[in-house]
């Protein structure tokens, strides 16, 4: 089979993928917000003096990291309704976003946990000597420093998450890969279509890379004059 260059170009510059790309961005962003919230809580709990909750977080992280994302997606979409006798029946989007967000949360828990741990011990001791409450110490001293450490690995997670949205084709969400499969199963131009699909993912990853570097530069300076103590 010959590479149909004209078709490839026309597909690449068509509007066919605009909506799927928008879906991927929206789903990734929502799932990432869930992941960051869950991960921040998980990371704080992992470093807290709460052994029972700590174990729960360990169980969560081990489970999620040990189960393929695809299996998790199918669990939320098909498994949960079956388990609850139809009482819980999530839409494809809800199931997909929850699955990716909860999966992301496990990795973010580890990132936040190690970020907190790599803040110098002396920072805690100084906080304690200054009578700061645990909450104040976390919010004003430890987390702001942990965030700076956590930003580069979080960037990797965002790119992984964008790529993982392709698994949502299994629950019939019209994202980039699903759109591609629909096209090539109609015209059999597998290579041209999959190349376009790949290019879109690549563009998203590269585009996010720019955003990430801006973010890193912001934080690496560590001289944020906008840090306002009064803002709690």
């Amino acid at each position: 089979m010959r590479f149909d260059f004209d078709y490839f170009l026309s597909l690449l510059f068509s509007t066919r993928f605009f909506e799927p790309v928008a879906i991927v961005i929206a789903v990734s962003a929502t799932a990432m917000v869930i992941g960051v919230v869950v991960g921040t809580i998980g990371g704080i709990v992992s470093n807290s003096p709460l052994p029972l909750l700590q174990r729960l977080v360990r169980l969560y992280v081990t489970t999620i990291r040990g189960v393929p994302v695809l299996v998790q997606i199918v669990f939320w979409y098909n498994g949960l309704p079956a388990l609850t006798g139809g009482a819980v029946n999530l839409s494809a989007y809800a199931a997909g976003i929850i699955a990716l967000g909860i999966n992301e949360g496990a990795y973010m828990t580890e990132i936040v946990r190690s970020g907190i741990q790599s803040v110098d011990r002396g920072q805690r001791e100084a906080s304690q000597a200054l009578s700061l409450s645990y909450r104040s110490m976390m919010m004003k001293v430890i987390l702001p420093q942990a965030v700076r450490i956590a930003i580069p690995p979080t960037g990797n997670q965002v790119v992984n998450l964008i790529k993982n949205t392709s698994l949502l084709f299994t629950v019939a969400i019209p994202e980039i890969f699903a759109t591609g499969t629909n096209i090539f199963s109609a015209n059999f131009k597998y290579f041209e279509v999959i190349a376009v699909v790949a290019i879109w993912y690549l563009l998203l990853a590269v585009g996010y890379g720019f955003l990430q570097r801006t973010l890193e530069r912001r934080f690496a300076k560590g001289r944020r004059t906008l840090y306002d103590l009064a803002a709690a």
Partner: protein, 254 residues
């Protein structure tokens, strides 16, 4: 024999009282029944070889380390889980490695605890922080970040940060050990000014000049116990133990 350093003989009202304090890290017995009483306004310098338990001792006083036996009281309040925050209110601490908050300016470093733990308004905290930064002579650097200052300036900022909580007692754990030689005296001068203001001070340091000038008593620790205690002149000029004599020879030739 552990020397009993309970009575300082000056008739000062005791503000810190340690009685038979014991502390172990697992099998390692680090403090072996230390008794010491510090009077209000008194300046005590603690010296001794590495690993003798000096840091552990002063970190027990503000509860950064938990002691396992004996009693510690500050201003008549016995240190325990319930009284920890009350005791810490009275005590400021300065660390060897400064431990300034790197993401905050010097001024913000000084404002954080008064605002978070004492409920001062931003304006009040700012005024107080500038006041203390002036006293340690770095008010002109208030807007800078710790990384932009020299070690000596950072340590003086750390002293100001502790003073902003208006403690009655200041603990120092080798405040000049991490500094280049030319910066040591600026920190010691600041500490001497603080001493003149009447602050109760417990300083772990090997700066003998500082001890001679400022200390009411010097405590020599060895192997987790107080081996000798007395006024600096007597301790330094006529040490009664071989261990202290050896220790003094070592740091003087250093």
């Amino acid at each position: 024999m552990a020397t009993d350093a309970r009575a300082d003989g000056s008739g000062r009202e005791p503000i810190i009282v340690l009685e038979e304090v014991n502390k172990s890290y697992g099998p390692v017995h680090v403090l072996k029944g230390v008794s010491l009483s510090v009077g209000r306004g008194e300046k005590v310098v603690i010296c001794g070889p590495s690993g003798s338990g000096k840091s552990t001792l002063i970190r027990c006083i503000n509860g950064l380390e938990e002691h396992q036996g004996g009693r510690i009281s500050v201003e008549g309040v016995q240190l325990g889980p319930k009284t920890l925050s009350a005791v810490r209110r009275e005590i400021g601490m300065v660390f060897q490695s400064f431990n300034l908050f790197p993401h905050l300016t010097i001024k913000e470093n000084c404002m954080l605890a008064p605002m978070e733990a004492r409920g001062l308004s931003k304006a009040e905290a700012e005024e107080r922080s500038l006041d203390y930064l002036k006293r340690v002579h770095i008010a002109e650097h208030a807007h800078k970040y710790p990384a932009q200052l020299s070690g000596g300036q950072q340590q003086r900022a750390a002293i100001a940060r502790a003073l902003c909580m208006q403690p009655r007692i200041m603990l120092f754990d080798e405040p000049t050990s991490a500094l280049d030689p030319e910066m040591i005296s600026e920190v010691l001068d600041t500490m001497m000014e603080l001493a003149e203001s009447g602050m109760t001070m417990v300083c772990v340091t090997h700066e003998m000049r500082f001890a001679q000038k400022v200390a009411d008593r010097v405590v020599f620790m060895d192997q987790g116990a107080i081996a000798e205690v007395g006024p600096p002149d007597r301790l330094f000029n006529s040490p009664s133990s071989d261990r202290l004599a050896l220790f003094l020879r070592r740091i003087l030739t250093h």
